[in-house]
């Protein structure tokens, strides 16, 4: 099929020299470069684009601007694409949506006949009785109610986000926006103009503000030219500002990117949505808004029909009629809803073209061709009262009906920012007030409709923005426009219904009224019950008639009734836009690649990646037992670089340590380490570590892997109050650390350390030494976390990998092998050492977990001291105990409950099979009465079975701690 187009200057967007072939619903068509899918189809007289949501009624374009759901089509890899926005490409293949059979012959259309069985609130009111009936209906409803289908084999595309910063951002590049941009730019500030369509000009690009459109074209040309030649104005076309967030934070979506635009001043010149008139069959293909017909002609040079009727409640419709006439459409009548004539000049112009004018009349019903496929005529009646018509009907044959039921400001962004909507009965329109600082409004969204005043309003808004930035001292004059563009009541209920308020959801006038009769008086409840405004067009056309109908039915003013809350996003946005490129930082130690080379299974620990054990995951238990045994019998090495490290330096270093940790630190000798427990103000154990005193005024304290940032933050916050003379420095990433542990650990160390006396007397248990290891400067501590002779070695992290290599090389004669976190957890469990946040929870005070010995109450203060005092003076409710089970018993898991009769007294915190101990060992909270060694605690394991475990004293292994002190 070929198409004919109107001559220039119609067709601003198309390239007549570039024909494109494409396919829709199995048929081949030809369009032009610059077409949207919808304009190309209309050029081929293909009007039926989709089927409606509920009744499967045929639908064609309504707005030609991406503001309605009628043009949603299916692309091979994407559902719900707006055909009037999506640019046509060669070879494009599109399908209709929401039909069974074919788009042209939809079996689902029979649903329209069953309309009275699908009442408003259908989903809420049906299917819940009798019980179980939903299960039978669900399949059918899901099939019927869906729109497009997702391609589950889609290939993800690259989407990302980027910040942009501007002094002034203007949303909407119509006359107000263009003028505001030019005015703002004169002050030299950076300006961004965001336009949803693919060309600048807004209404100037399609509507004729003067009789022949010449001045409009000149005006547009001049504004666009100036904007494009102003270097400090950036323009984004095909870009949607999808929300307004605090402090003018504006997500603007363009292509595959979300721009996070930050504006010092923001001007919303988003325009107004032309509204439809509510009458029977107002949804037939061939019925569209006046502005849609104008866009078709001006943008795409598509002649919208052969014989037209224009139904209007304002003077703009007269211009549409004249434009249609000028482009060769036979205009059969202009039907004006208003009782009086408003513009004798325009009426005269109609008369000159012999276009009949019918005043105070409306289309009462649109007549359809077979199957409701297209408009074939209209039934016109005189208006006899509000929403009422008299009995005399005039039938006019036509294939095109253009309607304008007035305008609704594009209020969404402004209401997101907290603006108030109020309705003026005189102007029959909503207006916006109460804008936050640094947000301005201009043009038709501000209720200004005459072109000169729209431009003046652009100047005014931009000047106010400049005043706010201190760049202008002008006091902009208020712009007022008294033109009324909205008819009072463009709603005409019909006895047979199908006068649609909301096209997306197939809601008729009576549906809204019925919702109020059922008690849903509040507009928010009407929305939720009836689903009005919930469809893809989000109430752009249904909000105003709904507000009027609800106000009328509930005897309230339209202002009182209002509209439902506007929330972002303004337009449907893809999850990919929100997700963008994922930033999920991870941390790796300097030895990370060595672990991978040695076959480690890595496990996450916060944002860290740590080796769990070394070997294939299928034999996890084997590797854990082997690694643990190896440490007990020979020597192992573990990467502990993830432990937090904090330096505390200065004259008050000891005093500071004394206030943060529970132990006493004032008299800690230089060259010694001390266990450090951190309680919060509630007295709960929240972290622990080892504090080494490097000098009188210098401590180096470790924290748990997950606690480093929190402990550091708490330390610095406390000292912001205490004002001690101390420097607190988080050196977690500056040091790599390993723990060399096992009976042969000293022999390995002797290979590498020459400048430190490693003998038991020279470097005893709990001592701290500094020296070099293979030439690398190192801090060394004798620690006993795993209960064997052990050295913790800390080196600057750029040397971490080299240190690892040195140790594995030097340890070869003693068969040194690495061990992972899981093996280390078993080893420390055998020693009864707790892991804070695994064996403690949000209630654990030091007494419950056997740390009384680490609390010093002779000093004046530590964080949480008073809470610890209070809690430890109360009768203790639970105690962390060690328990044992035979090796063949079901193994409790962390979190399994400890029961005493029917009462829960605690839970398992750690549990593992221990080869060394020849059985299952674990720790659990138990009632104090059950905490004595020899008692039994009952643990409910997987499957509901209960096992009786024997309480034993801790540690399980090497009770007199001889091995670690070797």
């Amino acid at each position: 099929m070929t198409s004919t187009r109107l001559p220039a200057p119609m067709g601003l967007l198309i390239d007549r020299g570039q024909p494109l072939t494409f396919e829709f619903a199995g048929q081949h068509y030809q369009g032009l470069a610059g077409d949207s899918i919808a304009s190309a189809l209309l050029a081929n007289q293909r009007w039926l684009l989709s089927r409606s949501f509920k009744y499967h009624r045929p639908r064609g374009p309504l707005t030609m601007a991406g503001q309605d759901a009628n043009t949603l089509v299916q692309l091979p890899d994407e559902p719900n694409v707006l055909a009037d926005r999506f640019p046509l490409t060669a070879g494009l293949r599109a399908e209709g949506q929401n039909y069974s059979g074919s788009l042209d012959n939809d079996r689902g259309a029979a649903l329209g006949l069953l309309g009275r069985f699908l009442p408003v609130g259908f989903y809420y009111r049906t299917f819940f009785r009798p019980l179980g009936v939903w299960d039978q209906w669900e399949k059918f409803i899901r099939k019927t109610a869906g729109l497009g289908h997702a391609d589950l084999d889609f290939k993800p595309q690259y989407h990302d986000k980027a910040y942009r910063f501007y002094d002034v951002v203007i949303v909407g590049a119509g006359p107000a926006g263009l003028q505001a941009a030019l005015t703002a730019a004169t002050a030299g500030v950076s300006v961004l103009l965001v336009e949803e369509q693919s060309l600048l000009g807004g209404a100037l690009s399609y509507h004729q503000f003067d009789a022949d459109g010449e001045r409009t074209a000149q005006q547009r040309h001049a504004l666009v030219e100036q904007v494009q030649s102003t270097p400090n104005i950036d323009v984004m076309l095909n870009a949607t500002c999808n929300g307004w967030f605090t402090d003018n934070y504006l997500p603007v979506i363009q292509g595959n990117r979300m721009h996070k635009v930050r504006a010092r001043e923001c001007i919303v010149a988003s325009g107004a949505y032309e509204q439809h008139v509510v009458f029977r069959n107002n949804d037939l293909p061939g019925i569209l808004l006046c502005s849609a017909a104008e866009r078709l002609m001006s943008w795409y040079a598509v002649k919208p029909g052969q014989r037209a009727v224009v139904l209007t409640g304002n003077d703009e419709g007269y211009s549409t009629a004249l434009m249609l006439h000028a482009q060769g459409v036979d205009v059969a009548a202009v039907v004006d809803l208003r009782p009086e004539l408003h513009s004798p000049t325009l009426a005269q112009a109609l008369a000159e073209q012999q276009i009949p004018l019918m005043q105070h009349s409306t289309v009462f019903e649109a007549l359809a061709t077979k199957g409701n496929k297209h408009l074939r005529g209209v039934d016109i009646r005189r208006i006899s009262g509000r929403g009422q018509v008299d009995g005399h009907s005039t039938i006019i044959d036509c294939d095109l009906l253009c309607m304008s039921g007035g305008y609704m400001p594009a209020y969404q962004l402004l209401c997101q920012a907290g603006a108030q909507l109020s309705y003026s009965d005189e102007r029959c329109a909503f207006s916006l007030s109460n804008l936050p600082d640094h947000l301005h409004i201009a043009g038709s969204v501000n209720g200004i409709h005459s072109l000169d005043k729209v431009l003046a309003d652009g100047v005014r808004a931009a000047t106010r923005a400049l005043v706010n930035m201190g760049l202008s001292d002008g006091t902009p004059e208020t712009v007022t426009c008294t033109r009324v563009v909205n008819p009072e009541w463009p709603i005409f209920p019909h006895p047979k219904g199908k006068e649609f308020v909301d096209f997306d959801e197939d809601l008729q006038a009576k549906d809204i009224v019925n919702a109020t009769k059922l008690g849903y008086r509040d507009i928010q409840l009407v929305k939720r019950f009836s689903t009005v405004g919930m469809g893809p067009s989000q109430g752009r056309h249904s909000a105003l008639p709904t507000a009027r109908l609800v106000a009328d039915a509930t005897d309230r003013s339209v202002t009182e009734t209002g509209v439902t809350t506007a929330r972002p996003p303004f337009h449907a946005e893809k999850l990919a836009h929100i997700a963008g490129r994922i930033f999920s930082p991870y941390r790796q130690t300097a030895m990370h690649h060595r672990h991978l080379e040695m076959g480690a299974q890595m496990m996450p620990a916060g944002s860290w990646q740590r080796p769990a054990y070394y070997g294939p995951a299928a034999e996890r238990d084997r590797w854990v037992q082997e690694e643990a045994q190896h440490v007990r019998s020979k020597v192992g090495v573990i990467d502990v670089s993830t432990l937090g490290g904090i330096e505390v330096r200065g004259p008050d270093a000891a005093e500071f340590m004394n206030r943060i940790y529970t132990f006493a630190f004032l008299k800690q000798p230089v060259g010694r380490t001390r266990y450090a427990v951190f309680t919060n103000e509630q007295g709960v154990v929240v972290d622990d570590g080892v504090a080494s005193r490097l000098a009188e005024d210098h401590f180096y304290v470790s924290t748990t892997t997950s606690g480093a940032d929190a402990v550091y933050r708490e330390m610095t916050r406390w000292n912001a109050q205490w004002r001690l003379d101390v420097d607190i420095y988080n050196v977690t990433s500056a040091f790599s650390a390993v723990n060399v542990a096992g009976p042969d650990a000293r022999k390995v160390m002797e290979q590498l350390v020459q400048d430190v006396d490693l003998s038991p007397e020279g470097f005893p248990y709990l001592a701290y030494r500094e020296g070099t290891i293979g030439g690398i400067p190192a801090r060394m501590m004798r620690v006993g976390f795993v209960g064997e002779l052990g050295y913790e070695i800390h080196v600057p992290s750029s040397y971490g990998e080299a240190l690892w290599d040195l140790l594995l090389e030097a340890g070869k004669p003693w068969a040194i092998r690495p061990f992972g976190v899981e093996s280390q957890r078993l080893l420390r469990l055998e020693k009864g050492h707790i892991i804070v946040s695994q064996d403690t929870d949000g209630m654990s005070h030091p007494g419950e977990v056997g740390l009384e010995w680490a609390v010093n109450r002779k000093k004046p203060f530590f964080v949480g001291c008073r809470s610890v005092d209070i809690m430890m003076a109360l009768p203790q409710k639970r105690q962390l105990v060690g328990f044992r089970l035979p090796g063949d018993s079901p193994r409790p898991q962390e979190g399994h409950l400890v029961l005493r009769g029917d009462n829960v007294t605690g839970n398992v915190t750690s549990c593992e099979y221990s080869g060394t101990m020849g059985g299952i060992i674990g720790m659990a909270y138990a009632a104090v009465a059950d905490a004595t060694p020899g008692s039994r605690i009952h643990i409910r394991v997987d499957g509901g079975q209960t096992v009786a475990a024997e309480v034993v004293s801790l540690p399980f292994y090497d009770a007199d701690n001889a091995r670690q002190e070797l």
Partner: protein
Amino acid sequence: MKIMQCPLNGPRNISEFVYGGEVRQMPEPNLCSDEEWAEYVFFHDNQIGLVQEWWLHAPSGYWFIAERHTASDDIVRTFDPSERFKERVEFAPNPEVSAA
């Protein structure tokens, strides 16, 4: 996204900051009653009006105090903690220990 004025780093997205709780006067822990201590640890005024809060600018590790209105969420003022905490804080000794 809200912007917060950091006294050290200037205006930044609120996502760069970490909330650190209300700024409250700690009662002398060794001298106050259990009730006074519990009041301090567990109870918050939660009233409409201006409150002083701890905020951390995480990338620079800088704590400061913000005066914020709990209803409007307006941040009226931010300032360095030294404006409020001028003196080195000392704690009274534990009386039970001193008595012993």
